[in-house]
């Protein structure tokens, strides 16, 4: 029902996903459909901490989406040697983001296969 399909974009090398909300299901769907053998870079811009839901039920749903994203990005690293990049806006956000990431993408963080970079946009 909810597939965001990029399989036709066969020359795709670089994808950037920026979300102002906590939901990342759309990113997972898009990543699942990428068929391009040329893909070299996956970048994410995370929502601010304050944009994450507080209620238990909603948080559980959102957390599951992030767990799926964590798993998917680990697969990309294992199969294509792709280290995802996480972008931040301001220089002083870097430390806050590191803590944030450890909770959202634990496996990537534990393996040390994620890079933090300053957003050019």
């Amino acid at each position: 029902m909810t597939e965001f399909d990029l399989s036709g974009a066969t020359k795709l090398r670089d994808v950037v996903f920026r979300s102002t909300r906590a939901n990342v299901k759309w990113i997972n769907e898009a990543l699942h459909t990428i068929k391009s053998g040329n893909l070299q870079r996956i970048s994410l811009e995370l929502p601010r901490r304050s944009h994450f839901p507080i209620g238990d039920v909603i948080w559980e749903k959102v957390h599951r989406e992030w767990a799926d994203l964590d798993h998917l990005l680990v697969q990309f690293w294992a199969s294509r040697s792709l280290r995802p990049k996480v972008m931040y806006g301001l220089r002083n956000q870097e430390e806050e983001l590191r803590d944030h990431l450890a909770g959202l993408l634990p496996e990537l963080t534990r393996r040390g296969i994620i890079d933090l970079v300053q957003s050019p946009r």
């Binding site: 029902m1 909810t2 597939e3 965001f4 399909d5 990029l6 399989s7 036709g8 974009a9 066969t10 020359k11 795709l12 090398r13 670089d14 994808v15 950037v16 996903f17 920026r18 979300s19 102002t20 909300r21 939901n23 299901k25 759309w26 769907e29 040329n38 811009e45 946009r121």
Partner: protein
């Protein structure tokens, strides 16, 4: 002094000063032989902010368009093009080497904004950045289709496009082989996407940068990516939506 140095050495010296307009202005009045090479940098970027008075000043300073430094200009910014009346058409056309054009077509005091005076004026243009509140599609795409070498397009808008009932798809369009950037609120995104998809020579963008404000924006993005599926290498999506999407395929 200018006769004692070979011209290529003078060019080298002046090129090193490209980021120092005050020094370049001083160099410009050293001798006649220095004018051309300093103007090349002094007039590389020209801004007509609150354009009416600025264009008047330009015409006062350079009354003969064939002899003005406009041909040195590579980047031209025009804010509020309602100021560009037909009387300035020759002046605008004298910027024939511009490769990047930034237009902010805001609307204040119920003045009519028109891009028509810009149509066909920039044969070398590669990159068009257009920010607008509301413009008829015939004016936007009349401009786009009058730029044969156009590669990059960036549209920002904060309102609805105006559907022109007399709209007919143009017979020719630029190849559009660079980047497309759409950051448009309301229904502007879908409106522009539909018109882009109608262009007769197709879309060949290698980079697509979009900001979504509605699910329909996502669907329009897929249409654009689909049209550029053989060329698109880079996709940058900023998503302000909280939900998920119905099935959309490239």
């Amino acid at each position: 002094m200018s006769h004692s140095l070979p011209p290529e050495v003078l060019d080298l010296i002046v090129n090193h000063l490209r980021g120092e307009p005050a020094t370049l202005k001083s160099c410009c009045i050293v001798s006649k032989s220095w004018i051309h090479r300093t103007r090349e940098h002094l007039f590389a970027h020209v801004n007509f902010f609150a354009a009416h008075r600025r264009i008047e000043m330009w015409v006062e300073a350079f009354p003969d368009p064939t002899n003005s430094p406009a041909h040195h200009t590579r980047t031209l910014s025009i804010h509020y093009p309602q100021a560009i009346e037909s009387v300035y058409a020759d002046t605008i056309c004298s910027f024939s080497s511009v490769v990047r054009l930034d237009v902010i077509a805001g609307q204040w005091d119920e003045e009519t904004v028109s891009l028509v005076p810009l149509h066909g004026s920039f044969p070398a243009l590669r990159s068009l950045h257009l920010t607008f509140v509301s413009l008829p599609d015939s004016e936007i795409f009349g401009l786009v289709c009058s730029l044969p070498l156009l590669e990059d397009l960036k549209f920002c808008s904060f309102g609805l496009g105006q559907r022109d009932r007399r709209w007919t798809a143009p017979s020719t369009s630029p190849k559009l082989t660079g980047s497309l950037n759409l950051n448009m609120e309301a229904e502007g995104f879908q409106f522009i996407a539909r018109r882009l998809l109608d262009l007769p020579n197709g879309l060949h963008f290698t980079t697509i940068v979009v900001t979504w404000f509605s699910e329909q924006d996502a669907i329009s993005t897929m249409d654009l990516v689909s049209r550029c599926s053989d060329t698109v290498q880079s996709l940058d999506i900023a998503n302000s939506l909280s939900g998920t999407f119905h099935s959309v395929s490239v």
